[in-house]
């Protein structure tokens, strides 16, 4: 017996030692987590959504393209003209606005230098208008410009008069003219004010992707709709007993007076029509008439003035 006990003890302690050594000693730290903030959201906030209309998807895209057009055209085409003219014509004016308005100034700044380098060699033959037109086209292909056509190069430098500005960069060009005379902070703010909306997109001002009726319906929140329906269904005695009665869903459009009474029942529609239409429609009409006036938030009268209620027998069960 002693031998067996010794054997058992040896086995146990070796097993224990193996377990202590080999089993992973996992250290884990759990960060102290404080209570999670829970925000209670009423149903009203969630359901106050605008019903969308699939056929009006264009609205947002239009707004987007408008802003793109307003922003992008000035950039590429204003570059050559803007750098040309201030450099030579208004050179001394440190034109903060011009540099601020065009963030991509460094690009064109590189171009005029080679142009000026070629200046002295060709003879200056002033035909300003046409040359300016040529200059305007040149930016499309800037590299061949210095080598091929030396003639137009001096033209850009020579004219002291501002060339007829390209119609697209009206804002910046006008601004430069003004700023050359006097720098005005108000004008700058005007400029900012004017450019901001073009970049902002349609925003909330534009009623996009929604219908008026949808908006109106959704403004009556789900809980208030339910309240109205509950008030109506209290008096509702649906024709359950007849065959197929459970499928008779009646939609009633009613107009309500500010005190909650029914002015008129405008329309009654029912799905699953047939011989039972009259029965179901009458049941719904009775319910609507009997239970008036309805208690609804008076502040939202405009919203529930015309309201549509579904009488669905399946809701009862």
């Amino acid at each position: 017996m002693r031998n067996a006990l010794i054997v058992s003890a040896i086995l146990h302690f070796s097993l224990l030692a193996a377990a202590i050594i080999s089993l992973p000693t996992s250290h884990f730290e759990t960060p102290t987590v404080n209570a999670l903030p829970v925000e209670l959201v009423t149903i009203a906030d969630e359901t106050d959504l605008t019903e969308g209309r699939p056929e009006e998807t264009e609205v947002v895209e239009e707004a987007a393209t408008e802003t793109v057009e307003a922003e992008t055209p000035p950039e590429p085409e204003a570059q050559p003209g803007a750098t040309d003219t201030p450099a030579d014509e208004v050179a001394t004016d440190a034109d903060a606005i011009a540099t601020a308005a065009e963030s991509s100034a460094p690009e064109p700044a590189g171009e005029p230098e080679p142009v000026e380098a070629t200046e002295p060699e060709p003879e200056p033959d002033p035909t300003p208008q046409t040359e300016v037109a040529a200059v305007e086209r040149q930016p499309v292909e800037p590299e061949p410009q210095p080598s091929e056509t030396p003639a137009p190069v001096p033209e850009t430098v020579v004219p002291t008069r501002k060339p007829p500005p390209p119609p697209r960069r009206t804002q910046t060009a006008r601004l430069e003219q003004q700023s050359s005379e006097s720098f005005d902070a108000d004008r700058l703010s005007q400029l900012i004010n004017r450019t901001a909306p073009s970049g902002g997109g349609s925003g909330s001002a534009q009623a996009s992707l929604g219908s008026e009726s949808g908006r109106a319906q959704a403004s009556l929140t789900l809980s208030e709709m339910d309240a109205l329906r509950a008030q109506m269904q209290r008096c509702w005695n649906p024709p359950i007993g007849i065959e197929g009665g459970q499928d008779l869903v009646v939609t009633v459009q009613i107009r309500l007076a500010p005190d909650g009474s029914v002015v008129e029942i405008k329309q009654i529609g029912a799905q699953g029509l047939g011989a039972l239409y009259d029965v179901a429609a009458d049941a719904a009409r009775r319910a609507v008439v009997q239970c008036q006036p309805y208690r609804l938030p008076p502040a939202k009268y405009e919203v529930w003035k015309d309201v549509q209620v579904n009488f669905d027998p399946r809701d009862l069960f």
Binding site: A4, L5, V7, S8, A9, A19, L23, E29, T30, T32
Partner: protein, 236 residues
């Protein structure tokens, strides 16, 4: 209670989940339970080893003796040979019966009238003594197999109680507060199962083996009694 607070304090630091750390962190009651279960497991395995070896030896001896017995050797010679050494199992039964037989023939007139009954009594006594000897220790296995899970469960419940106290002490239900207490508590259950499972399995095995051996011995006793009583009846 003091332990609960220290547990809670220890939880602020990263928890250590090695076996040793778990044991050292545990409440004193849980420690006692663990140590007790460890000792129970130790004792159980000692019994298992001992009994397995003992039963194997017993069966070998029994088959040896049966070979000798049915080899046609005279019973007198067999008795002389066996009575000198320490006997067990079948040999013990045989020796007891032969001793009674011898004693009955010692007097001037052999007492044969109820010799068969006396021999039967003697053999039954020997059988029960041998059976007791065989079954010794099995009780420990049975008790461990049935009680160890409950003891482990007790440790677990106690550990979870102290972990709840740690929650109450620290005021948060953070995992770091709860986890070590529960882990150490579960260790107690694990130890209980670790002790109970082998104990139960080997209890069943050993009990079956012992029952078989006892049955064999009873069969031999009956056969031997039949032989002896035939002899007695012939001499009457």
């Amino acid at each position: 209670m003091g332990d609960a607070v220290t547990t809670g304090a220890a939880l602020a630091s990263p928890a250590n989940f090695s076996l040793l750390a778990l044991f050292l962190q545990a409440h004193i009651v849980v420690k006692c339970v663990m140590v007790g279960l460890f000792l129970a497991s130790l004792w159980c395995w000692a019994i298992i080893f001992y009994k397995t070896v003992a039963l194997r030896r017993m069966r070998r001896r029994m088959s040896n003796f049966e070979e000798d017995f049915w080899s046609g050797q005279s019973l007198e010679a067999l008795y002389k040979e066996r009575s000198e050494e320490d006997t067990d199992g079948l040999a013990a039964v045989f020796v007891a019966a032969m001793r009674e037989w011898k004693r009955s023939h010692e007097g001037a007139k052999p007492a044969l009238a109820s010799l068969a009954q006396r021999i039967d009594r003697v053999m039954t006594m020997t059988l029960s003594r041998e059976g007791e000897e065989l079954e010794r220790g099995l009780m420990v296995l049975a008790s461990t197999g049935s009680a160890a899970p409950f003891i482990g469960l007790f440790g677990t419940v106690w550990g979870i109680m102290s972990s709840f106290q740690a929650i109450a002490g620290s005021g948060t239900t953070n995992l770091a507060v709860v986890a070590p207490g529960i882990a150490e508590a579960l260790l107690a259950t694990a130890l209980g199962l670790l002790a109970a499972i082998p104990a139960t399995i080997f209890y069943n095995k050993l009990a079956t083996d012992i029952a078989r051996i006892t049955h064999e011995m009873e069969g031999f006793a009956d056969e031997f009694l039949a032989i002896l009583s035939r002899e007695i009846d012939e001499r009457l």
